[in-house]
């Protein structure tokens, strides 16, 4: 049984010559993301801000948003957001944090009473403001530690130049993912943080494969000019990078399409992360290494790095 097609393998794409465009694009994207983060901000879910999230399903027929809005509006709970999703009978109710735990619990009770028997409560989440603050800290800490941990590992296995580039590309992937969330205002919750961390791990995975090939070529072609060497390394690993991204992408796509509403923001973050991670491994990592060239094998400093 032979393969039906073979991914392109004799590519000679001049990635290094494109570096001004690609690194420029990456810089613009990152800066835009940071600006968006500070100006538009993230649509933090209740995991971070504290508050109440209730998912209800109409027991008969479709949900009547207008009448729900009137019923809940009369409860004096501050900002109440209703969102129809999936099927017509499902509604997500988001209520701002009521200030303290007691009040939050009472608000849930009030909603239960107001909606009565015509709606079934499928999910209730109440997060106090205190827990929210802690979760955001733990999330940010995890993301930073993950990037540092990965950089240290790369430093340990390669040269420090690789580690810095790995750190910067991972940072780029994480920052632009956050930018996408600021732009689309998709709910940013704990699961999204998990997705961002997975992206950090995943995108470095691709980058390490490229690095590996660069390191190997550095030993094999001792006199080849760096730009040419790196172009070859990226081109040689291109089919693998694309293939792996494709398999992961379709798996996550399946999850996004049929996996349900609860993990939607997680899967969307992952989809974006796979795209941007692939982009940065191909277009950013190696060209950046050119700005920070690792020592060649002819230099004595590199000799010890060889097993």
């Amino acid at each position: 049984m032979r393969p039906l097609f073979s991914l392109p393998h004799d590519t000679r794409i001049p990635f290094m010559r494109l570096r001004r465009i690609t690194i420029g694009l990456a810089t613009v994207l990152s800066v835009l993301s940071i600006v968006l983060f500070f100006y538009a901000g993230l649509n933090y879910g209740i995991d971070f801000r504290g508050g109440i999230l209730i998912e209800v399903r109409a027991t008969q027929g479709t949900a009547d948003l207008a009448s729900m809005r009137t019923k809940l509006g009369g409860l004096d709970l501050g900002e109440v957001a209703l969102q129809n999703f999936g099927k017509n009978e499902d509604v997500l109710i988001r209520i701002v944090d009521q200030g303290n735990e007691q009040a939050n619990n009472e608000a849930v009770d009030a909603v239960r009473k107001a909606l009565g028997d015509s709606y079934e409560f499928r999910r209730v989440e109440v997060v106090g403001p205190k827990v929210g603050g802690e979760l955001i800290q733990a999330g940010a800490l995890a993301a930073i530690l993950a990037m540092l941990g990965i950089a240290v590992y790369v430093w340990f296995r390669f040269e420090w130049q690789f580690a810095i580039v790995a750190f910067v590309t991972t940072l780029h992937d994480v920052v632009t993912t956050i930018g996408v969330f600021a732009l689309t205002q998709i709910d940013f919750n704990l699961a999204t943080v998990a997705a961002v961390l997975t992206i950090a791990g995943y995108s470095i995975n691709d980058t390490v494969v490229v690095f590996d090939r660069i390191r190997e070529s550095l030993r094999k072609y001792k006199t080849m000019p760096l730009p040419e060497l790196m172009d070859r390394a990226v081109n040689d690993t291109l089919s693998r990078t694309l293939m792996t991204s494709a398999t992961t992408f379709i798996a996550v796509l399946a999850l996004t399409l049929v996996g349900g509403e609860v993990i939607r923001s997680f899967t969307i973050a992952m989809l974006w992360g796979i795209v941007i991670g692939t982009f940065s491994s191909i277009f950013i990592a190696a060209p950046m290494l050119l700005l920070l060239p690792p020592p060649r094998a002819t230099e004595p400093a590199a000799a010890k790095a060889m097993p």
């Binding site: 409560f121 995890a142 990965i150 704990l190 943080v193 590996d212 996550v252 349900g260």
Partner: protein, 529 residues
């Protein structure tokens, strides 16, 4: 490289076989799996609350209340001691969160007062200003110790209270310094549990203070030896305000002396009551008090509210009594539960609640399973289209990978959450990465004109370092996610980590075994890749 020792082959085969066997029970309906004899693999993956439905409550023990109570007691003890030793003091009060201050009036009595404080609390730190102002600071170590034991005690009492309600398989565990995590699988509405946990249920019996007037006390002149307490919510005076009671601060009998409490009905009035029994010490105290105070009212106080204040008609010697009040059958039942379980050492706050209905859980499982199947089919299709026969090899490896992952989750008793299912799907997508690396390498070697055997051999060998490097970096991220994540996210991290291990095993070793046997049986000149 393609050659494998016989023991290596057998080890790989046995691991794969075990993976299939241990994953198998998960395909069966739960009732069938429960009937499998225990010597056979029978564990199924434990489903998280977001999949099986249930309630997750994170409680915070108000440890400051423990310190506050210590300080109030310290004030009382100092007052009593100083009075007994005839050392006049002024401005005796709680200061801040961990100290009590007072001033000794006679400068000559400072040393005497210091000794008296030592007697009351030998571990406290005492500082005295030249003006004779004492600051008695509680030992911080002791406070921490006390907070910790309050959390431990709370866990115990919460368990008793929840057990009384008949909730199945609750998980109750201390978390961090002052948190308690309660997980109640299958619970649709945690309202009743929250109500039960929302009360400290500290029951005390006091005599009423009849020497001072309630009106005076309400105007702010509460005598030092007394407490002004409200009646319970239904106990209101003519103007609709809760009725106030002035009771002696001294506890006549404490709630810890109760051995049993049961709801019941008063045979004459049909009114709901709670019947209680004291232990021997409590019974004696109760007998003494009632004997000495016939004709006077006494107050039954729960969490600083007077439940009822009946008049003692005759000495109660049997050690049992009855609490009346305006109970409904449910509230009488709840109070009995609370009294049997004992009082919490400090109030609890629900700081996080996540409840998922069983229907939504079932829908999530369905959606997750559906997505997994589609993902596996798509990935398998893509691999076969791109690599032909070798693609089929990696799909076989993918099957064992899935089995091993599910088997590992079942055997380790890890909890599978919805993000965990996402982790499985993601693993399926990433697992073939190792195969892709190997196959692309083989193709490259073939393009360089190497022989079939050499190309395959080099492909596996060269790709190995890359596979290890790329997977370890993902493992670092997964590990941090596990350390810092909570609940469902943690479940995702566990699946991702296990998935990386099983992927490397199946994609490298299992594929190598298959490719090796294929090569030896066919001896192909050309590799169909």
């Amino acid at each position: 490289m393609m050659y494998m020792a016989r023991w290596q082959v057998w080890t790989i085969l046995v691991i794969c076989l075990l993976g299939v066997i241990y994953a198998a029970p998960n395909v069966l309906p739960r009732e069938v799996a429960e009937r499998i004899p225990s010597w056979l693999p029978h564990q199924q993956v434990t489903l998280g609350l977001d999949l099986q439905g249930g309630s997750h409550l994170l409680l915070e023990v108000d440890t400051r209340a423990v310190a506050r109570e210590r300080l109030t007691n310290l004030v009382d003890a100092i007052r009593t001691t100083m009075r007994a030793k005839r050392i006049p003091v002024t401005n005796l009060a709680v200061a801040g969160t961990d100290a009590v201050t007072f001033r000794v009036r006679e400068a000559g009595q400072v040393d005497q007062a210091r000794a008296a404080v030592r007697e009351v609390d030998p571990n406290a730190q005492v500082t005295v200003t030249p003006e004779g102002v004492f600051t008695v600071q509680l030992n911080p170590q002791e406070l921490i110790q006390q907070a910790r034991s309050a959390v431990q005690q709370s866990v115990e009492i919460i368990r008793r209270r929840i057990d009384e309600t008949g909730t199945r398989d609750p998980t109750i565990q201390a978390q961090g310094e002052d948190r308690i995590l309660v997980q109640l699988p299958g619970l649709r509405d945690p309202q009743r549990i929250k109500e039960l946990l929302g009360q400290t249920a500290k029951l005390t019996f006091h005599l009423l203070d009849l020497n001072n007037s309630v009106a005076d006390a309400m105007a702010g002149r509460v005598p030092p030896g007394s407490l002004l307490l409200p009646g319970d919510a239904r106990d209101v005076d003519a103007s609709g305000q809760p009725r106030m009671y002035l009771v002696q601060r001294r506890v006549s009998v404490a709630g810890e002396r109760l051995t049993d409490a049961q709801p019941g009905q008063n045979p004459q009035t049909g009114e709901w009551v709670v019947n209680f029994k004291f232990d021997t010490v409590g019974a004696r105290q109760f007998a003494d008090i009632t004997r000495a105070n016939v004709g006077r009212p006494f107050a039954i106080v729960l969490d600083n509210k007077v439940l009822s204040a009946p008049v003692i008609r005759e000495p109660i010697l049997a050690g049992s009594g009855q609490i009346s009040g305006s109970f409904t059958p449910q509230s009488a039942q709840d109070l009995a539960v609370l009294l049997r379980a004992g009082a919490l050492p400090a109030p609890l706050n629900v700081i996080e609640e996540r409840t998922v209905g069983p229907d939504l859980g079932a829908d999530s499982i369905k959606a997750g399973a559906y997505a997994s199947v589609i993902a596996v089919i798509l990935v398998a299709g893509l691999m076969i289209v791109a690599y032909g026969l070798f693609g089929v090899f990696s799909v076989i490896a993918l099957f064992f990978n899935l089995c091993l992952l599910i088997a590992a989750l079942s055997v380790l008793g890890a909890t599978l959450t919805l993000p965990g299912i996402a982790g499985i799907v993601l693993t399926m997508g990433m697992a073939v990465d190792a195969n892709v690396l190997i196959y692309e390498r083989i193709r490259e070697e073939l393009r360089h004109g190497q022989s079939a055997l050499y190309a395959i051999d080099t492909g596996f060998r060269r790709a190995m370092a890359t596979i290890i490097d790329s997977n370890l970096t993902t493992l670092i991220a997964a590990f941090l996610l596990f350390l810092l994540g909570s609940g469902p996210v943690r479940g995702f991290a566990v699946v991702l980590s296990l998935g990386i291990v099983t992927s490397v095993f199946s994609a490298v070793l299992v594929t190598r075994l298959i490719v090796g046997s294929w090569y030896r049986s066919r001896r192909p000149k050309v590799v169909p890749i």
